[in-house]
Symmetry: C2
């Protein structure tokens, strides 16, 4: 039994939790707290002061209202699979874990939607409606374990978001507890609801605007036909040219994935996926839709691959072969552990047209620094996942890898891209936000955050580079005479 100091706001909050929640829903035992010290980004670790496991929206509301009352920071966590440290706990705060909120509240096939709680596992949504010919489209590679609440926080994508978009394209409405403990609804079932579309702002806000307690998701009809091919190329240049040709022809594949030689090597060692021998790059292209259309377009895709130098094109004859093709791709991140003791999973975006140029620059960065980089990416929409390899036991290696990793993000920004495609900013990329956004851009976002969370207790320290009190965020400017600002005399 621990002693609770009644003067500490945190202890007051925990005492209230104990009064109201079932005993097993409040964790303060240091051993058990350690389980929650990190999410999928294990390089950041913080043990939370307390963990709560609510089962209802009303409990979440109460937990947040209690935290707000005592100005105690709180952080929401789903399955803890995020890769940017978005669910990294606060040492003086409460971690609100939604894993017990697993009810599928409603399935409405006629209107193609379902209402789920935040702890529901991504793949379980599809599981609940697959027999009726429906599925939930967002498919992060963690979909067997990640939660829909986490998908909403991170606006998760996946291999198929080239054609189907991100979580934000598949959520119709949210029930949310705001940082002051109000339960509100954002969006709705109807198209283009009146008022502000705060649904879009909330999705992908990485837990900084509140905690989601209910999600109305859009269900999609399962495609009549799915076909997958694997094409081997001498180089990423050839594979990249094939991707450009496919997209320019007006084809939108469900997925277009690329792996370079080092990534292929790792996958072979890990899962013996049997990718074309000696390939400098492989493409995985998947088409889905009505059978006639897929058949017709698939022939076109094969032709583009061959015309751009594919020396082998293998078409999956059945589901087992299709699974084998995907196995190589999906195992790539973990597989890299076979060829390097440590690695950083980077996540950046570039315009598709800059693929060849940026891959060349990454190769040069790698050669100059002696740091190996394996490339796995969603080629169709220019979302790179460079894996920066290093040996943590070697002095200075981690720092050099971090430097190369950051330089890759600079390349992305320089080419009009972004510092994250789907993993989020979280704790990890806070330091890069200033490279991508102007201070005015960031202040505009901060004003929204402050409108929801003026005390700064909702997932503090994430997303924004310079944590400051809301009173310090420049509000709308006052007392500046626009006509006397230097250089604006003629043109205001």
């Amino acid at each position: 039994m621990q002693t609770l100091d009644p003067l500490r706001p945190l202890d007051l909050v925990v005492r209230r939790f104990r009064d109201v929640l079932p005993p097993e829903a409040v964790i303060t035992d240091p051993q058990r707290l350690r389980t929650y010290e990190c999410d999928g980004l294990a390089s950041y670790r913080v043990v939370p002061a307390a963990v709560v496991l609510p089962e209802t929206a009303e409990q979440v509301r109460g937990i947040v209202a209690t935290c707000a009352e005592h100005q105690v920071p709180f952080v929401a966590r789903g399955s803890g699979t995020g890769l940017s440290g978005g669910a990294l706990p606060h040492a003086e705060g409460v971690l609100v874990v939604t894993s017990r909120m697993r009810a599928i509240r409603e399935i409405d096939l006629a209107n193609e939607r379902a209402v789920v709680e935040p702890g529901v596992i991504n793949l379980d949504v599809t599981g609940a409606v697959a027999a009726d010919g429906y599925y939930f489209a967002p498919d992060p590679s963690s979909q067997q374990v990640c939660s829909v609440g986490g998908n909403v926080a991170e606006n998760s994508g996946g291999a198929h978001c080239l054609k189907y978009g991100f979580t934000t394209n598949h959520v119709l409405g949210l029930e949310v507890v705001t940082p002051d403990g109000e339960l509100v609804r954002l969006g709705g079932d109807a198209r283009d609801a009146p008022g502000y579309d705060l649904l879009g702002a909330f999705i992908g806000s990485e837990g900084t605007l509140g905690i989601v307690t209910g999600i109305t998701v859009r269900l999609m009809r399962s495609p009549e036909s799915v076909r997958t091919l694997l094409a081997g190329f001498d180089s990423t240049d050839g594979a990249g040219a094939a991707v450009s040709a496919i997209i320019s022809a007006g084809v939108t594949p469900a997925a277009v994935e690329m792996m370079d030689a080092l990534a292929i090597e790792a996958a072979e060692q890990a899962v013996a996926c049997g990718y074309p021998e000696g390939a400098g790059a492989v493409l995985v292209v998947e088409l889905d839709g009505p059978a006639d259309e897929v058949e017709h377009t698939f022939a076109e895709v094969e032709r583009h691959c061959r015309e751009h130098g594919a020396f082998e094109v293998r078409v999956a004859a059945d589901d087992a072969e299709r699974a084998m093709i995907w196995k190589g791709r999906k195992s790539a991140f973990a597989a890299v552990g076979r060829i390097s003791p440590d690695y950083i999973v980077q996540d950046g975006v570039i315009p598709r047209t800059a693929l060849s140029e940026v891959l060349g620059r990454i190769a040069r960065l790698s050669a100059e620094s002696g740091v190996r980089v394996a490339n796995v990416f969603h080629a169709g929409d220019g979302n790179l996942h460079p894996l920066v390899l290093f040996d943590g036991a070697e002095p200075g290696a981690a720092e050099r890898a971090e430097e190369v990793s950051g330089a890759i993000l600079d390349l992305c920004i320089e080419h009009g891209g972004s510092i994250t495609g789907e993993h989020g900013v979280g704790a990890d990329k806070v330091k890069y936000m200033g490279r991508m956004f102007t201070p005015d851009d960031l202040d505009t976002m901060q004003r929204v955050r402050c409108a929801f969370d003026p005390a700064g207790i909702c997932n503090p320290g994430k997303v924004f580079p310079t944590p400051r009190l809301c009173g310090e965020v420049p509000g709308p400017r006052r007392g500046v005479h626009p006509l006397t600002e230097a250089g604006l005399a003629d043109q205001f």
Copy 2:
């Protein structure tokens, strides 16, 4: 020459505009101001105090900064085709008209996007890229005259948004002047940009969060094939059942439009579109995509129509016949002027599955009140456009029509729908917002508005039902002890 009183903020502001802008860009002559007294909703009229016609983003920034400096209200206006009074001027304010900002700044076909200024006409975007096989998808029926800036403000849809979504689904980034005169970028070219997705919140905010000065739009490949049919039914029930059958079969038509007997009668009188004689309802169904797929699916759609009682199905053989089918539908609003001296264009949304029930209730409302209602709607996504007919010369008729019109919105809300599908809240539907949202929901939106516009000078009086000073919006609650709130003792 008018006398300017140097003590009035408005006069100070106008004087500065005259110092800086070309003479023809500042209008204060009462005769000319009258041109701008209303938008497409002519039942609300207010003459603005001044009109400015900026040509550059920097001029917009200066205009807004000057207004902010002197706390003078301002309202943005594109082509003035909006149907909810969103561009209704403020009598003591400045109307900022973007019609001179008509440059298409950039076309980037390789990355399927273009950057346009807010005054660019919707159809001109398609015009600029059609020869290369691309188009801009949002297609409000005013697309020959409405501006892309106005589309962004209203999140405009159109007949084809069933398949392709709204403006918000086709805008990748915005350059925006915030209400304090800062020029910021929202969204971006890369997928899933980090930080808050304020792009979504801005799109559809009806001019209350700032003025857009540049829009990065997504370009789509023109479909290989487009086919259109017109089906005549005895009643809206049969037509509604056909729509349900088509959607349930997994078909997503580009458009599914329905008109009832009264709307057909009006269209016949106006444009002699030759719709099936004696029809109680017609459906216009359009499919687009690869030729093989369209061919195959089209046969399926025809079958569903016949199985649900279509007594005539007419397939457009060529573009001329296709245009004729659409002519009836597109003329319907104006055509109603032939059969009634006055009418209200209503805009509400219901779940598709409630179509039959709600149409029945509207018919009963009409019978009980003696007010005729013609129905024209985007049946595929349940967006109704009831046209409520009346004769303004008849005492009390306008009030009765307004009452029926409001009762229809209540029906929409009751069935889980919305008070506007695509026309917006503007000045017109402010009074209905409280029926759809709880005070907590509205306060959440108000907080965002106040974060951008604490002085309340940016399109004041629109969207929100109870205009109040930002200091009066309940901020995040303080000092409320969650455990002592009535009824929450057990469950917080």
